[in-house]
């Protein structure tokens, strides 16, 4: 491909899933208007939702899902060895995601609740960066296809990979939404990384922080806000735990 005098090769890409719903990978097939152009940038080497061909020579590995079984650790380490760039893809891979809610309960209790007496090989949920080195993290539940395209284009053209550093409030105010705190709710928008175009709050659903903390958030002031508004700290904690994104801050405050 030729681009302003620069030529570049198609990006050899593999996409893999661990403990997840595969919804983020499915996003790759969305955004039909640019889908052919997007696929044109890629040489898909390994992606079970798209092709039955399997090759191990990929430059970029997109890894979706968290780690919740011993055998997943070995598989992830092999992918890391094969890939030049490993991308944590979606909130499960980046933070543990919804799956990590089970870490709030004794492991055997969670297994019994779901599988009864059937024995299941499982362990507490971990984000993938606990196991392997992660080069790029694309958060979101699910990821935003537009953002994924932007990042893949950045990689293809060798330009800087950028994520918004500011919180969701910026995008929420740009959409002229009513602040959900004014409606008496707890919203994680002020501490969550933007880039989602405030899709949940525009639908009057509070932000649960799927994109993780924005940069340099003022967690203390946020806690104060929830207290000042006499909202439930229990509710807040539940929301902070939802995607397991705010672990570091939650522990800090104690």
């Amino acid at each position: 491909m030729q681009h302003l005098g620069f030529s570049h090769k198609k990006i050899k890409i593999g996409s893999f899933d661990f403990t997840c719903c595969e919804g983020c990978q499915l996003q790759l097939a969305n955004h039909e208007s640019t889908l052919p152009a997007f696929l044109e940038l890629l040489d898909i080497r390994n992606f079970r939702e798209i092709s039955s061909d399997r090759y191990d020579d990929y430059d970029i590995a997109l890894v979706e899902g968290s780690i919740s079984r011993e055998d997943e650790i070995e598989r992830l380490k092999t992918i890391r060895k094969n890939a030049k760039v490993l991308v944590a893809y979606g909130s499960c891979a980046c933070f543990g995601g919804v799956n990590s809610l089970k870490n709030n309960f004794p492991l055997d209790e969670t297994v019994r609740e779901v599988y009864g007496d059937h024995s299941v090989d499982t362990m507490p949920v971990q984000r993938i960066s606990n196991i392997v080195k992660v080069d790029v993290s694309i958060p979101g539940c699910p990821v935003s296809k537009e953002e994924v395209e932007r990042i893949i284009v950045s990689i293809a053209t060798g330009s800087m990979i950028n994520f918004p550093k500011y919180p969701v409030c910026v995008e929420c105010k740009q959409r002229l939404n009513t602040c959900l705190f004014d409606l008496g709710e707890i919203c994680l928008g002020p501490i969550t990384r933007a880039g989602c175009d405030a899709v949940c709050t525009t639908g009057k659903t509070v932000c649960l922080g799927c994109r993780g903390p924005a940069e340099d958030i003022n967690f203390q002031s946020f806690m104060q806000l929830v207290a000042d508004k006499k909202l439930s700290l229990g509710d807040l904690d539940e929301k902070l735990r939802f995607y397991n994104c705010f672990e570091a801050f939650r522990n800090d405050k104690n």
Partner: protein, 360 residues
């Protein structure tokens, strides 16, 4: 300026004809009710006169984005083999803005001074400004509004038509031939002596209804002197860095520009987004260096820009005193408290014991 009066039912007919036409119209609408039962208003599209909440208090966000969109494509690039072409368009559709308060019109006048009369006039802004028909309306201030302190509780230009409520009529200040021609189709009269008196009474009432006063005399020198004041850290420690204040502000115009290559790499868009000096990477440069890494520094510069002004607008404050930022701030930061804190810091200085020199 031409002055007329119009009976309220006739005025509603006039507005209805205006907004039900083909031109996109925006006015204050009741969009939500907050937890305390208070209505929340925003400027939204209106199609009939009944959509408009004429008696609204203040909109949550300003009308700024109609002239200065939150996000805007500035130009398109098309790449050919070893060359590129740039395509810039300034075409915009005309719009009608209804029900702006004097401080919101003042805010637009301030934006004009920066974006039209400064060293680098913005053709994007000009295109929108010239295609915006503005109808202003007066109203009694909210208790926390301090626009009078900044002399923006009345406005004498920057609108096509301004309507003062004098009971069963509106007193119209007609400031453009377009507005005059629109009104020709409707029953308007020359103001009587009584109407003039009522207008004066109305203005007096509005002026006397302000409950919040922020002392801004000498503020520029206070700000200069208090560059290293601990109050910036105190308020900065509260700041959530969320940018809400700048988004709802009628005059914050700072922005960020990004080039976004198309997915097929055949073209690219140059995109502008309104930004805020409170956002963590506002002053970040190549290499990840940040000139203002601390909350307090960023907050301070927002106040500097608002109350000291920039050279572009002859060092005039750009704040109009609407207190939208104060109302929207989740961390309870508002200009009144910050400025009072700053003045207290100086005026009640306990360290300085030397007396003023004697009169000579």
């Amino acid at each position: 300026m031409i002055y007329k009066v119009i009976a309220k039912p006739e005025f509603e007919k006039f507005i209805d004809t205006l907004v039900s036409g083909e031109t996109l119209s925006y006015g204050p609408r009741h969009v939500d009710t907050d937890k305390q039962g208070e209505p929340i208003y925003q400027f939204r599209e209106v199609n009939t006169v009944s959509d408009i909440a004429f008696d609204y208090t203040a909109t949550y966000s300003s009308a700024k984005h109609f002239l200065l969109p939150f996000r805007e494509n500035l130009s398109r690039f098309t790449f050919t083999d070893d060359d590129w072409e740039q395509d810039i368009g300034y075409e915009v559709k005309p719009i009608i803005l209804i029900g702006l308060r004097p401080y919101d019109i003042s805010a637009i006048n301030i934006l004009d001074s920066v974006l039209l009369n400064g060293h680098f006039p913005s053709p994007y802004y000009l295109a929108r400004r010239k295609n915006t028909f503005i109808i202003g309306m007066d109203h009694l201030p909210l208790p926390d509004c301090f626009s009078k302190s900044l002399n923006h509780h009345t406005v004498s230009h920057g609108f096509n038509l301004f309507c003062s409520d004098i009971g069963d009529k509106y007193y119209l200040s007609i400031n453009s031939s377009k507005a005059y021609n629109y009104l020709k189709e409707f029953r308007v009269e020359d103001p009587s002596y009584d109407d003039d008196c009522k207008l004066i009474e109305r203005r007096k009432l509005i002026k006397q209804s302000f409950k919040t006063d922020v002392e801004v005399t000498g503020l520029p020198s206070f700000l200069d002197i208090e560059f290293d004041s601990p109050i910036w850290t105190k308020w900065g420690d509260k700041c959530l860095n969320c940018g809400t204040c700048a988004m709802v502000c009628p005059t914050c115009y700072c922005y960020n520009i990004e080039d976004r290559p198309d997915t097929d790499l055949q073209g690219s868009s140059r995109q502008k987004q309104l930004y805020s000096c409170n956002l963590v990477d506002f002053a970040e440069v190549a290499g990840g260096h940040n000139f203002r890494p601390k909350n307090g520094d960023r907050l301070k510069y927002r106040y500097y820009h608002h109350y000291l002004g920039f050279a572009e607008n002859a060092n005039q404050p750009i704040c109009v005193g609407c207190n939208r930022c104060g109302r929207a701030c989740l961390a309870n930061i508002n200009p009144k408290d910050v400025i009072n804190d700053l003045r207290m810091e100086k005026e009640s200085c306990m360290i300085c014991v030397s007396q003023s020199p004697d009169k000579t």
